[in-house]
């Protein structure tokens, strides 16, 4: 029970709650769209952090779970008219299954080889879906407008997806916090520090890595369904966009890999920055370059990220910032 009293956990939850409640209070649709993107990144980056930050495996093509989940969910909704909840769970389950099957094979690879393999899998999946007729090939799947009637119209459906992603963002923080405090989390961090030593110390590394991979895949699969349901259609190019995957890596780095608060801060910070650059007349055309330059500065000078930097500077914070 002591874990529940950790101030860092409550700080992180409070941050998400404040963010999430803001559009609800004013019933502000524009704010809702902005915060939806932020919360989506919070869920994705925090999930990625379980594999990247805790276990030390760089998954460049993590977007494959988001895309696959989205496709499975959209397929079920469009073809079999299942409810959004079942579709979301199915998206998460499909992502988990894919991660489980892949994990057994590709987690044997280390370092850059693993990173390359995840890119290859994402590209293979994108090319395959592009050819896969049941998923609509290159044009993808589009939802009919009637689908949203079951949720009280499109406007209501949008709010519904928002509440769901809000709940998932809270969930992802709890999951990353309790994994980090658990024996399982310790074994992941042991793998990160030295995989061979961890194995000698009795960590069953193939199993621990596979479960870390599965856990980091489920929520991206679920938010994929939510995003594309809200979007109304899904295409291979949007679903398996490698660039989005890498942006989420950047968020984890920005906030601090291996911490609970880090990916949340990173996601909020990155999306705010992106929003600012996209709307600023000076930076609008070169927003990608400015973001790239900032990323470079962080990688070169603050590789531990914001939270990691604070923890290194002020040892007293290590207890309170998980």
């Amino acid at each position: 029970m002591k874990n529940w009293l950790n101030p860092g956990l409550w700080f992180t939850l409070l941050l998400i709650a404040l963010l999430g409640i803001w559009p609800i209070l004013g019933q502000n649709a524009a704010a809702r769209e902005v915060i939806f993107t932020v919360l989506l990144s919070v869920v994705f980056a925090s999930s990625l952090n379980i594999l990247l930050g805790y276990t030390g495996y760089v998954s460049f093509g993590h977007i494959v779970f988001y895309g696959l989940g989205g496709y499975i969910g959209m397929f079920l909704i469009e073809r079999y008219n299942v409810s959004l909840w079942i579709a979301t769970l199915a998206g998460g389950a499909a992502a988990a299954l894919l991660a489980f099957l892949l994990g057994k094979a590709i987690l044997r690879l280390r370092g850059a080889y693993f990173a390359l393999a995840t890119i290859g899998i994402n590209e293979a999946m994108r090319a395959f879906v592009n050819n896969f007729a049941p998923f609509g090939g290159p044009t993808g799947i589009e939802l009919k407008f009637q689908v949203y009637k079951a949720y009280g119209g499109a406007a209501q459906a949008l709010w519904l997806t928002y509440y769901t992603i809000f709940a998932l963002a809270i969930l992802v923080v709890l999951v990353s916090f309790f994994i980090k405090q658990s024996k399982f989390g310790l074994s992941l961090m042991a793998i990160r520090e030295d995989e061979d030593t961890a194995e000698v110390m009795g960590v069953v590394t193939p199993n621990a890595k596979t479960w870390a991979y599965v856990l980091s895949a489920i929520l991206p699969g679920m938010v994929g369904v939510l995003f594309f349901f809200k979007n109304g259609n899904v295409e291979p190019g949007d679903a398996f966009r490698l660039h989005f995957s890498i942006e989420n890596l950047v968020m984890v780095m920005l906030g601090g890999q291996g911490t609970v608060l880090g990916p949340v801060l990173g996601a909020v910070g990155y999306q705010r920055l992106r929003g600012f650059l996209l709307t600023n007349p000076v930076f609008k055309n070169i927003q990608l370059s400015v973001a790239g330059a900032l990323l470079l500065l962080i990688v070169l000078f603050i590789p531990a990220g914001a939270v990691g930097w604070l923890r290194n500077r002020l040892p007293r914070l290590r207890k309170v910032l998980p």
């Binding site: 290859g120 994108r126 050819n131 070169i286 790239g292 990323l295 470079l296 990688v299």
Partner: protein
């Protein structure tokens, strides 16, 4: 498709494969010397394309002469990229170097998009066709493939017949020992990175002489380079050339049996499979 069609597409595949191999060689050289996967590779390929395009359209330079200039600029660009973005993290984790090179990619693509937009361009310079029995070839591709072979031979001579090349191989083999022997490793690393980007720029320039392109086109060839590099074994330049030939031929043969859109599916499945079964590549030594 008749027999001559098959031969034509096979020869075409070989010609384009050599150029793929050249681009991949740049990537594999950088990996071999400093264990960095260069995610800015695609953007340098695109810069090579635009280098030829600009020199040809605004200065009226012959594209093949322009190639020499592009090669020199590519070398310099690589040295600059290395000094600014890579040198500080060259010993850090793979994540750091991947993200450092990716940030370079973002900067280049961002500026490139702002300057050139993403509309397609092409270098309007034709060399005509060559008909050999049943086979008709674009001369531009033939010359490009020859140029690629020439560059490859020059690289080989450089690596194995010059003192500087020996330094590069020594640093690749064991950087600490090379430093103890008095080799200035920082400069050699910068030079190797420059050579890698030079090859990418040349490959981009050659591709630009017969395919239309945009500033984002480099990404496609970067992914192909990944596949080739893994086929030939990470860090093995000659393997990259062979991998390029294999990929080029696959790309020309698969469309005979399957719709064209299945090519990337098979390519990337092969890529993942090789990583799993033989991570040292088709020609690498088995561990």
């Amino acid at each position: 498709m008749g027999n001559s069609g098959l031969i034509t597409s096979l020869v075409d595949g070989v010609l384009i494969g050599v150029i793929y191999g050249l681009a991949a060689m740049g990537m594999t050289l950088i990996w071999g010397v400093m264990s960095v996967i260069n995610l800015a590779h695609g953007s340098v390929i695109a810069l090579g394309m635009f280098g030829i395009y600009l020199l040809f359209t605004s200065l009226g330079l012959n594209p093949y002469l322009a190639l020499i200039l592009v090669a020199i600029l590519g070398l310099l660009l690589g040295v600059i990229i290395y000094s600014i973005a890579i040198h500080r993290v060259v010993n850090a984790s793979h994540l750091s170097t991947l993200l450092a090179t990716f940030s370079v990619n973002m900067i280049v693509i961002g500026l490139g998009t702002a300057i050139f937009s993403t509309s397609p361009r092409n270098v309007n310079y034709s060399l005509g066709n060559l008909t050999l029995g049943p086979v008709t070839l674009l001369n531009a591709r033939l010359v490009a493939a020859l140029a690629a072979v020439l560059v490859t031979s020059a690289l080989y001579l450089f690596l194995y017949r010059t003192r500087l090349g020996k330094y590069v191989r020594a640093v690749a083999n064991n950087r600490a020992a090379a430093e103890l022997m008095g080799i200035p490793s920082a400069q050699i690393l910068a030079l190797s990175f420059g050579l890698g980007t030079m090859l990418a720029a040349i490959a981009g320039g050659l591709i630009a002489t017969f395919f239309p392109f945009t500033i984002l086109s480099g990404g496609v060839y970067e992914l192909k380079s990944f596949v080739i590099v893994v086929l030939g074994g990470l860090g093995n330049p000659l393997g990259a050339l062979a991998g390029g030939l294999i990929l080029g031929m696959l790309e020309s043969i698969i469309p005979i049996f399957l719709p064209n859109t299945w090519v990337p599916v098979l390519e990337f499945l092969l890529f993942v499979l090789i990583l799993l079964v033989r991570p040292s590549g088709l020609f690498g030594v088995k561990k």
